[in-house]
Symmetry: C2
Subunit: 104 residues, 2 copies
């Protein structure tokens, strides 16, 4: 039995409050901050100082909020930002990302 693909919600079903909530945690902000737009990052490249199970939990929150996409590559997991989020909430993530370095 093949492994289940990751569930990525339809962005139309996501509210602004959902996205803001997902972005309101320091660990999750650190994750998003280390994701350059348009690029893919390996799961194990995140140095956010939490246990693997906790990191997995935060990934799921970000995924359910439509912010990130996860993809399996054999044994590993590849993470990236969901570009469609900008169509649903224009400038939101861009603004947060721009403010992040100075005000984590």
């Amino acid at each position: 039995m093949a492994q289940e693909p990751y569930f990525h919600p339809d962005l139309d079903a996501i509210s602004l409050a959902d996205v803001l909530h997902a972005l309101s945690d320091p660990v999750r902000l650190a994750i998003v901050k280390s994701l350059a737009p348009g690029e893919e990052t390996a799961w194990n490249a995140f140095m956010v100082g939490v246990a693997p199970s906790t990191l997995s939990h935060h990934m799921k929150v970000l995924r359910n909020a439509g912010i990130i996409a996860n993809r399996r590559d054999g044994m590993r997991c590849i993470v990236s930002l969901r570009p469609e989020l900008s169509a649903r909430f224009p400038d939101l993530l861009e603004t947060v990302l721009r403010l992040l370095p100075e005000a984590a």
Copy 2:
């Protein structure tokens, strides 16, 4: 004995996560949505469907996050957005406010 003035935190002491958390609740988003920039609104003008004690709680959360300012006018309370927030987090509240009507 005069009533204590409202406490308004220094915006430098507020993190981006704090602001995003304050904005991640539907009731608080409804409050912010009904506050036109540069204008003052009476406390009892908010129709957000919660008990007065709950509304008071949410006002405090928004105030502690540097998003709103409260001012006493005799027996009543006047609420407004804090314009300095735009200096600390440029475009953040503006972006959220712009996205609010369509995606509450």
